[in-house]
Symmetry: D2
Subunit: 359 residues, 4 copies
């Protein structure tokens, strides 16, 4: 015997609903600025990527990004047999979707040479056709004339630099001398290059971190290993294309990758303070004090090297809190810690001082 | 052949690290108050629960709660063969841990009778022994003399009310008349009783929602079905035991269970506004406008019943955002929606008006 | 003061590793056959999809599928401005990747007409160019001459059938009369059409369920709501292209969508038995017996309508187990249940008998 | 205006359903035996644990275990003020629940001394009272007379062995000489002691791994870091109390902790073979071959040290599959790998040979 199961409406059509969702990321801030979450390196079927340009906007929107750049290769066109070269197609296609979803789309392209000079992204350009020529310096000059921000990509990429150690060649020094290099990728895809922190610091360049995504973000950076793609945090005056550009040329950037941040100390210190807050002492037994340490960001904070009479190590989880139990002397002198996951140089991490809030 | 695998230190001892973590919940607020996250109903081995009292503090701390009450049964002591009755033991044991973790521990107990009157929690008492007597009204009187907040628990619990419909008996009306009843559980364990919204509204009682946990929170409310236990949100002037008590007697409460809130409209409306924010119009093509609607809380907002020329339904995810595309006329007149998951009465949900932010 | 943090090798290059992974799905079986997990409806940039053809193979491999078909629209070519029409390009591009990953790639295309006849997939064709002509019946005839399996797609799709109710038009009856229709989609994207179960049963057609994916599988069917894409299970003699085709023409299929299966009773009954196993009675107190009911598949089994003296409802979780406590009389007579999530017709679900294993 | 929202039945009572679920674990097997999943070290409120004894059975059932032992401390009774010492209470309380859920409950206790001898569990005893006496050797003798399996617990526990290095004292050697020591914990809580592999091997003792849980399993071993508690796998002839005991005295055990297994090579080699299966070569281009390597267990297999012309490293995910691309010579000679997460000794891991399946 069969039983009646469905009401009439269910009998005819059923759906399992789905809705696109944009995450809101909680990231550290720099006083006086808004933190724009950006990815300045991505590809589509118009060079060697596997997706249509609108997919990049959808990914950016869902991931909570403010700005992205599509940077298809000029010289490398492996889909040419099926898709005639059109350097500006990706922007034309992605543009209206970016407008509809309030994503800042930065026009870019990847100048794709063997090392040296390697690969460089020209960002904030207006068109690519005039950059499709052989002489490398002429290409950069033409890009700079368009107002481009020039980013050196993955300088330690093993296919071009077999030992994985990023190093400056004459051509890079020449670019810097001319003011034609503005940033270097510290992080690309799933790789990071510690020495880039120093190269950028010494040459007043912006530290960059990007996905260089060819496939699909939700596959490449799937939880639980990754909860977000690598990105460049840019500290801009406003959430506009112009402010973004100004901030990048001014070098106000940081890189968020995995559970780590990379930023020069001048940015890293206020960033840490913007999200880690100590509470008032809520217990004081005359010998030890207890207070809360809360982290409002989506990035855990991993403290080590604590002083005597205090926890040696403390991980404050993302959007979480720990209780600190410490010697009473820390009412009047600060606790000092290394923040192991805030990288400030090729061989240094952020040093911080923590005190309970005033009563 | 065996290969060398471990460095010396690993050879001798290894650990897989673990650290207790406190979540920080993002919940709606009422202007001028702090939202305290509370659970006023729980058990331990000192009545019919399965855990030692300190476990309740650990759970509360990890769950991001501000206050809990341990409310073991007075009359029901099934562990008596192994654990001699001691009505005050749970607080004595849990107290120091609560102090160490900055959790407000509200002394409470469950007066456990057949229906009517059913089960009632006396909260904010100072001791329980004087409440261990037969005459129900005398027990309540003694509790009230201690300053107790009296909560009627799970009034539609099927074991006592087989049809599941909560109803007032004479004894409850008598309690109300005397000012001896202060709140009713709208939500308990995994059940909710819609009529309680009206019973509380008509009698100026606080709406309550609690876990009534006997076992373990992380098992009973495990993700992905549940990401948090049911709780009472209390809008207090400060995060103190005294302020909490004042707010509860004043009826400034709401219930968060699953993805739903239950609150009187006077609280629900500002709560919604405190977390859902419309952005400026970022696209206006002369016919339709587009703007963002962001939700900063851990509770999704499920809007339905949208007006003509606007989305019929919108779910703004927890800590997420949607883009609204609507007729240009909504620049000057508000969009109206029902918020299906903010319950304001036994048969009503919150009605809201939404407009894009001023340019 | 800066501290030494990194060993030399880390100083120069770091990676955060990633590896593509193929899931192994546990699905019900039909004795004597292997269950092939298939998706016979997908798109690429060669019609209106958003991905390069190789992406479809990667997705299939990670998802644990055995076979897919790429079925770009013949008549609908919205990317034509950038990508010249090439009906066979998707297979040429995806073919070598399919071979490298042991995925059976079924050549297919979507014949895309207004209703009637609506959209139909021709599967197992050899080329598409000869199908790019106006006369619908001629197109089908040409496909059938290539040995095609003809699938009617999403017959209740609201854009073509505004009330959502699938109905046969003369053209469909004509196809059936000629033996030119072989299957109908019961499930497509996020929709299901209950009446298709009866339409297929009455006309001896295969029940089909496919993703019709245009975007990206990992976004469209993201956990926790979905742990897998919708798929057609095909009971084939072997895991080969030929056996797959034979099984489909023979109608040996089932649909897995969400936590549900749809299959004719002749398949549903043995499928259930292949994964749900009762253990021996491990406790018998003379009045009630207790035994385990285990489910080795990735699909939970939702039983309801249990008999007197037994659980009214039981959900056996995916790869999980429940304990059944029942009246002792069920040692000698079977327990009867409806399996609410195994759909056998437009208005029926699978009925099963369960007994504890022999001692 | 308020809108009608609920149907009558919802108006009165709602529930958010929950059901206890038992996982079925897929673990490696030893031909001719069944693999019993066991935890031989746990505590309750009857010594220093935080839960009532029945909680341990519920946890074991949900976790998919076959057997557990509750091993409260004899000498350490910190709850004595509230709970009078009753060494046999935990079993009396947990026993009926174990019977109801088909869990094998092994009566045990923890003999709790300073080092040496440290802590030892007596398992498979019949009562504890006769073991509550001072002379350590007399206690062990009395336990052995009851048929006990004696397990030395956490021999490198830093509170007793500050450098974390487990070492045999005279008392342990005496126990071994008398045949009074039968196993040592390689893994306890969140720690492992590599040297225990050799200590067990040299003395023909069983390798053990247990949770030593005092709190709650679902908190201590929460995903994503942990998907299961540490456990001892016992290779028994049947799933009975007797067979379990026989297997343990015979030393047929392995330890599963995190993503790792620890087992002597004689067990590790067949265990690996029972779950990792190579498929047939599905592509052979005359130079390289391709075949699948599938892992049917819940434990990923991490291979490294691959030979020339084959992948250097391969992680076969839990219940997943990888494709191996290798030089054609591996049609006739096996691929050799180290399995980094199958530990066979203090300084060795399992070495395996892999070949594609015969055509």
């Amino acid at each position: 015997m069969k039983i009646k199961l469905f009401t009439l409406s269910l009998l005819l059509l059923g759906t399992m609903s789905l809705q696109a969702q944009r995450r809101m990321l909680s990231v550290p801030e720099l006083p006086g600025y808004v933190t724009l979450k950006c990815d300045f390196h991505s590809h589509t079927v118009f060079s060697d990527g596997n997706v249509w340009p609108t997919q990049r906007i959808g990914e950016a929107w869902r991931d909570g990004l403010d700005a992205i750049s599509i940077t298809d290769h000029i010289e490398y066109q492996p889909r040419k047999q099926y898709i005639p070269t059109d350097h500006n197609a990706a922007w034309k296609i992605a543009g209206p979707t970016a407008t509809d979803y309030n994503i800042i789309l930065v026009k870019g392209t990847e100048i794709t040479r063997s090392m040296p000079p390697g690969h460089l992204n020209a960002l904030f350009i207006t068109e690519t056709d005039s950059l499709d020529k052989e002489d490398f310096m002429k290409v950069i000059e033409a890009a700079v004339e368009q107002g481009a921000f020039i980013q050196w990509n993955h300088p330690g990429w093993k296919r071009q630099q077999p030992d994985g150690i990023p190093r400056m060649y004459d051509v890079h020094r020449e670019l810097i001398a001319k003011g034609w290099l503005h940033g270097i990728e510290y992080y690309n895809d799933v790789e990071y290059y510690p020495l880039v922190m120093d190269m950028c610091h010494d040459n007043k360049l912006a530290v960059m971190g990007n996905s260089d995504i060819h496939g699909v973000i939700s596959e490449q950076y799937a939880a639980p290993e990754y909860s977000h793609r690598p990105m460049t945090l840019v500290f801009a005056r406003e959430r506009t294309h112009e402010s973004l550009k100004e901030a990048m040329f001014a070098g106000r950037t940081a890189v968020w990758y995995g559970d780590n941040l990379a930023a020069f100390e001048e940015f890293a210190a206020p960033m840490f303070k913007s999200v880690v807050k100590a509470g008032k002492v809520f217990k004081d037994n005359g010998k030890t004090i207890r207070f809360e340490l809360a982290n409002s960001s989506d990035i855990p904070m991993k403290l080590s090297g604590g002083p005597e009479g205090a926890p040696a190590a403390l991980t404050i989880p993302a959007r979480g809190m720990v209780v600190v139990s410490a010697d009473r002397k820390y009412l009047t002198e600060p606790l000092t810690y290394s923040v192991d996951n805030i990288i400030t140089g090729s061989n240094s991490v952020l040093q911080v001082e923590i005190s309970p809030a005033a009563q």
